[in-house]
Amino acid sequence: MVAKNKHNEIVKAESKDLNFFYADGTQALKNVSLPVYENKITALIGPSGCGKSTFLRCFNRMHDLYPGNRYDGEITLHPDNTNILDKKVDPIEVRMRISMVFQKPNPFPKSIYENVAYGLRVRGETNARVIDEKIEEALKGASLWEEVKDRLQDLAFNLSGGQQQRLCIARALATEPEIMLFDEPTSALDPIATVNIEELMSGLKDKLSILIVTHNMQQAARISDYTAYMYLGELVEHDKTDTIFTKPSKKETEDYITGKFG
């Protein structure tokens, strides 16, 4: 059965009573239940240390890289109802379906071409023609194609910061993920590069679902369809972005949005 909300929007993934503990025992998430809707952008906002990045990183099991971290609760991925936090589920499978773009552009020490091809090669794709096509498609999807089509063999580090971040988006797009996670993708970029990335994200939601962490409230207001406000590891409020920014139901949310707090 396809889960929908009152606006008739399809739930792509949802966390249910998610708790998360770091290796040192600190609890970073407390009973967070939050849906991510299909073809929508969901933004996570909140002051530093509120757990929004921790929450985002649960979706591709990034926390598995560090020993001692512990999840409790579940994140269900639809339509197949897979609990991606289940120990029996291979984190690599999860990451193949849910890709991620990081705060600081982190291209690999390879050519532009090989950066985008990486995910395809990891998945065992060897057909050069297929790889060529997918790379072009991904670079076009990330609005980078026109700028780099004549120098695909250049080292990725030669690109500007904004271009590098779009390359990372192309890299994540090439494997056709179902959900893309963005962890403050524009915080290391200048205003023009930021606008480019924001336009890009708005365009991408036709193809996939997006969950983004942002420090920038205007950014959340500009691009997202849904906004979740988190504080001290708890989800305070989650609603349509318009509602959150115009008439939030909770006092804490209003204080944060209006800058009285945070």
Partner: protein, 305 residues
Amino acid sequence: MSETTISPQLAKKFSRNLIERLIEFGLLCSAAFAVLITAAIVFVLVSEAIPFFQHVSLYDFFTDTVWTPNYSIKHYGILALVSGTLTTTFIALFVAIPLGTITAIYLSEFASHKVRETIKPILELLVGVPTVVFGYFALMMVTPLLQKIYPDLTTFNMLGPGIVMGIMIVPYIASVAEDSMRAVPMAMREGAYAMGATRFQTAVRVITPAAISGIVAAYILAISRAVGETMIVAIAAGQQPNFTFNPVESAATITSYIVSVALGDLEHGGIGYQSIFAAGLTLLLMTLSFNIVGHMARKKFAERY
């Protein structure tokens, strides 16, 4: 302006400047010391090698393949020693580069914190083993073992000491390469894992290329170490200069020639005595050229994350 007009503050400044200058001078002296010693070594090598080359032509030195400066029929073909040096070095690298690189990848990307903290000190212990011990290990253990596989192997050969030299170098490569791999930012690793890469794919396709500059530096260090190694080859490779690249034969390296002749009864200023310096100069030029190539390689692969 007379001295008396200097305010106390300025005087203080003057004394501070003086101390600063003294410290700077002291630092410069210690830095210059290493440079001066190197220059002195080169000077001694060159000044003693000049009379040698007045007696022996450079052409003979680099084309003759027999090296017998202390025999009645004298030949001065350095190639007979260079071949031994290159062969043992190559065998050592053949062992040490794969083993050292794999160890580094394992320690940096796969081993848990506990395992790494156990293995690293043990590896570093291997560095502390005196090379004489390694030499006898090659002669008494490795060569007899190799003779079981290949019975025609002579007691003195280049294969055994080459392998042992490789084992000796493994910790150098592993340690330097591991350091440079660990220095790759976590963001790079997370990027690779987030693409659905396995640990192995991350280690080999992302971390290794990112750390290549440090890894190349480790190899260069290993080459210099192998070329300069003396005791192992002097003990286990035989000390007969022999122009051959065949690892199962016995041979002398440049270093083992120098040590064997320098220990003998040599007439100061004689041609045999001078030949040590010519051989030493050749060795210096060899390591120098390896280092230059290594430096260029490092620059080419300079790490940029």
